[in-house]
Symmetry: C2
Subunit: 187 residues, 2 copies
Amino acid sequence: MSRPSAKTASPAKAAATKKTMRAGLSQAGPEMTKVDLDFLPSTIGYFLRRLQQAYKEHFLASTPGLDMAPKDVSALFVVARNAGISPSQFGSALGIDGAMASLQLAALERRGLLKREKSVIDGRSRIITLTQQGATMITKLRRTVASVDAQFTDGLDEKERAVLLGLLARLLAAHAGDLVMKGSARR
Amino acid sequence: MSRPSAKTASPAKAAATKKTMRAGLSQAGPEMTKVDLDFLPSTIGYFLRRLQQAYKEHFLASTPGLDMAPKDVSALFVVARNAGISPSQFGSALGIDGAMASLQLAALERRGLLKREKSVIDGRSRIITLTQQGATMITKLRRTVASVDAQFTDGLDEKERAVLLGLLARLLAAHAGDLVMKGSARR
DNA sequence: TATTGTTATACTCTATAACTATA
DNA sequence: TATAGTTATAGAGTATAACAATA
């Protein structure tokens, strides 16, 4: 699968979803013997890993030519709704550290979707805002993402989807601090 | 966070969980203004990404010295329960293609946890089995993983956990084929 | 010629540390 | 001296293609 490359900023190689019809596997036919997954199917970790992998595939396949990973989309949404946010706040909200935040913001800035300007109040800080192009992009993305995400849960009815979101949200709330904590402890 | 490196096979650098007390972020204090995540919290994709990230952290932090990612553990379980499985079947069961399967199996073989032998029935195929060391490892892992995974869902009661697993399983079943499909189409 | 598996290459992603500039 | 942010480096992860062996 061709992956999005926000960093190398290739705004044109878009619809080149190259398909290689061979990758080393060939079975998975209807006659294949069932593989025993042991107690993996009773663990949350197994499903989280497989499903995130599947989600990324689904998202990219559903947005040909967009050349953005779910992560980049999240970033844009956050900036869109929090104009003037700082890289620190941005990273903290998404559970990534300062260096990663810088890299991701730099990539989106290179694509012309947002800009970073020095704060006049505190010269160390930065003010992040969407560019006009970024704002346009967000408008499109809002519909697209909602649709693509809903499609991923096609097999669930409204209530089930709500229950799932609720449980996932509680899990994240219980663990969200862990990641940023790494870099936020004082010496 | 120091990450597991099954490939470079470092069976000894185990308990070196280096902690850098600074990574570029410092807020997240109680007085920080709340960041608006827009409609991200209503999407499955957002939670899958964040939670998988958190899970990996949780797993690694909970198994100091093990130097294995959840992915490697899954691989061992599959081989343990399916002695003599081929790389194809292995990869198909876990949603990865042949090349990736080879790499992962090679890494675990380098660590002495499993072995690959040429099949006498079909010389192209391989027979994967656990080594004695791998079998010992699995015994330990079975308890550890169950505990670590359960701990991750600490905030949920038994019923809620079961509901969550059920919904995740249905989602995966609906998307599991997508990944392997990439390499299984004939020309 | 097709299939199984491995290896090679290149590129992306991420962690860490070093660095700049402001305070 | 401490903080906000960036950049540099290295390592791990992954996609793809090329390859070797066997059927």
